[in-house]
Symmetry: C2
Subunit: 163 residues, 2 copies
């Protein structure tokens, strides 16, 4: 490239918002991750996996579904689940219907961990984000990132069709 003679730069206001978002997100993610690690010895990704599993039938989910639900790579989920298995928070179980498949199953320890950690996490999310914003502003955040996700999810998997 390098031929872009016409670039539609961000104006001052947009630039300011963009930078605030980058920095705020950086700080927020690290803060929430740190709180979970220090108080409950789990990472934010691990916490999220526990949440997904707790919401699934039987506390179990296929690896690929887990990966898609969090927009993490398959490889990443394999590693994370491996660590969680070492920590006895989940077990791996061969899928019934598809012999290639593997299900991650939440253990009792995993469920207890989630129950312990959830209040910490919610308090953090409120203290560092939700309660700092007006309801309208927070709703705007939701609108924006729903749009972002939609766009990126439907734009990227060009491997398949999308009728």
């Amino acid at each position: 490239m390098g031929s872009a003679s016409e670039v539609n730069w961000l104006d001052a206001e947009q630039q300011s918002s963009w930078r605030a978002y980058i920095m705020g997100t950086e700080l927020l993610q690290h803060q929430l991750d740190r709180e979970l690690r220090e108080e409950h010895q789990i990472s934010f990704s691990e916490y999220e996996i526990l949440v997904r599993l707790s919401e699934a039938e039987g506390g179990r989910m296929r690896m690929a579904l887990l990966a898609d639900a969090m927009s993490h790579s398959r490889s990443r989920v394999t590693h994370t689940i491996a660590r969680m298995e070492d920590a006895r928070l989940v077990r791996r179980h061969a899928a019934e219907s598809d012999r290639r498949g593997v299900e991650a199953v939440m253990t009792d320890a995993g469920r207890r961990k989630l129950i312990d950690a959830a209040p910490t996490h919610v308090r953090g999310v409120r203290a560092h984000l939700v309660d700092l914003a007006s309801r309208e502003d927070f709703a705007a955040l939701g609108r924006i990132f729903n749009e972002v996700s939609d766009r990126l999810l439907r734009g990227m998997p060009e491997d398949a069709d999308i009728r």
Copy 2:
């Protein structure tokens, strides 16, 4: 830690916005990083460093200032700058006033890299975020994360650390 018998959970709307934000941010960051890597062989962090340097007097900045400006750890900046030095995008230079200090100085190649990459990056930011939101919603995003940053920076600055 069952210190919380009363937890102020998120309501359905807040939860939905929060999840959209987590997933959208995940997708967005990876997308922007990928675009820069594929088209210009630099990571998003490296790009950000180039931006900061380009805005500084003489294209040079102290390591600590760079770290603070991006809310990255000192160690992370050391490693990132080391990689960029290998790639000839910056040079290290001893600081005049403080013999402990080190300045990162942008090279000509670094400046060219930024000039090449900037249009790609801005296009990405617009396509995947800015242009998907209304001006008001995007302003709300700015307000929220300015508040988040302020709170996290002033809430737990230097000490008051762990012990």
